[in-house]
Amino acid sequence: MSGKFTKSMARNTFYGGTVFFLLFFIALTFDTTAGLPKRDHRVNITEKVAFGKLVWEKNDCIGCHTLLGEGAYFAPELGNVYKRFGNNKQAIIAFIKSRPVNGIKGRRSMPQFNLSDKELDALAEFLKWSSEVNTANWPPNIQG
């Protein structure tokens, strides 16, 4: 680098640039959170949906699946699983319930989590709520 550009100028660029863009990021965050209720339809987050999210977390579902594209890439996307299963909560519940304890020979298999009926219902409700978030039309198709 040329002699004109000194170390203190470089340092000031760093501190100035960082502070400026951090403040800008925080401003964008305020704007985002203000507009979010319309997109995340939070009015529909019932106690059951919230409990469903907890069930989702306590069984580390994200360790195999993606949810809105984030997570592990070992098992199908679940952000739209409610729609993929024909807008049918019971189909989701039946699938989770029927996983064989010892898996399927030679194939990837979802563990049997032995969830209670209350947990299953809440989890399905949480997935239904997730499928109704406005995700800018993602995923591209029903296969997730």
Binding site: T29, V49, G63, G71, A136, P140
Partner: protein, 459 residues
Amino acid sequence: MQYQSQAVSKLYFMAAIGLFVGQILFGIIMGLQYVVGDFLFPEIPFNVARMVHTNLLIVWLLFGFMGAAYFMVPEEAETELYSTKLAKVLFWIFLVAGALTIVGYLAVPYATLAKITGNDWLPTMGREFLEQPTITKIGIVIVALGFLFNISMTVLKGRKTAITMVLLLGLWGLAVFFLFSFYNPDNLVLDKYFWWWVVHLWVEGVWELILGAILAFVLIKMTGVDREIIEKWLYVIIAMSLITGIIGTGHHYYWIGTPEYWQWWGSIFSALEPIPFFMMVIFAFNMVNKRRREHPNKAAMLWAMGTPVMAFLGAGVWGFMHTLAPVNYYTHGTQITAAHGHMAFYGAYVMVVLAIISYAMPLLRGRAAANSDKSQIVEMWSFWLMTVSMVFITLFLTGAGILQVWLQRMSDNPLPFMVVQDKISVFYWMREVAGVVFLIGLILYIISFFVGGKEEARA
């Protein structure tokens, strides 16, 4: 080694390497589960193997960063550590807490672990990379604060250099942004929004300050180039990292329910994120060309040169490949992401930690400047085996990812996820072979510590 208290970093480096081995073993298990689905099922389901793999990575890199700080700061500040005893105590707390957490993952079902660690009291578990029980997270905060206190006090009583200031800023930022891991609202969209304040603002934010500081330190020591020049480069590089990387967080806000203007902010700024990595390549090669000494530790030089190159490829090129919103619409959450994640973490963070270990370890073990030629040759073999196999892991995952995107998302008759996975399994087999080669490289790396021979004299 110029200061007695630097010796404590040896503990941290040894723990880092030990946990690195664990990480790779679980990586091999997961790679096999991708093609032999019932491997170790139901004893170690994929999600458990994955949290062990990713959590060990994070923890061993943290051990590496802390070891690097304990080695660098006394030399930079020209004073002994504030407290060697505190550094030792925190080491054992962190190691035992980390080990207990991993044992917890493996010994009981995750839901049981959540229950016995009181997750219901403050639910923070079950989110990607933040799977640790809440009490472990609190432990991490306590260890981090103790560590930062120790390092900050050392800097305060000694010489303040650009390198220590940048390192400190990076480490404090690491601790501050980790606090967002305690925020877990019922609203998934908000949860995801602030989850990235830990994950993105770590690896594409404050960790880059740590990376830059370590690299600058190693280059000063190895090339003997004037500190003023190197520190100016350091400031310019990290300025670009944060100027692009902070708003670049937007590339995670395309499809998670956040406003669509993020597609513009995220695309534009994250398209610029390769720039600081490219500057890092120019920087490292320039400094080596201008070197004023021939340092006998050629292995450390190899790691220091390899770091910016692989970071540029993994974080820069492979990141850019899928960062523009119209592309990301199809690639989001596929093997493309996995490919990028592997090479970026290896290139940027694994390699820089191995670079500082390679530079520091001979000194910590009482050598004049470097290990014997024989030992260095083994270490350089391990460099090439690990680096080349990581390139292949990335290429195979990219191949898998392109096919996955095509078959599942772009073709006229999109196929279901599992059907596609079966069709692309040959890529997963090749990835697994490359993974085994990586493990061989890692074993050679460890062997290099035990290769004797006549040590090099200081140049």
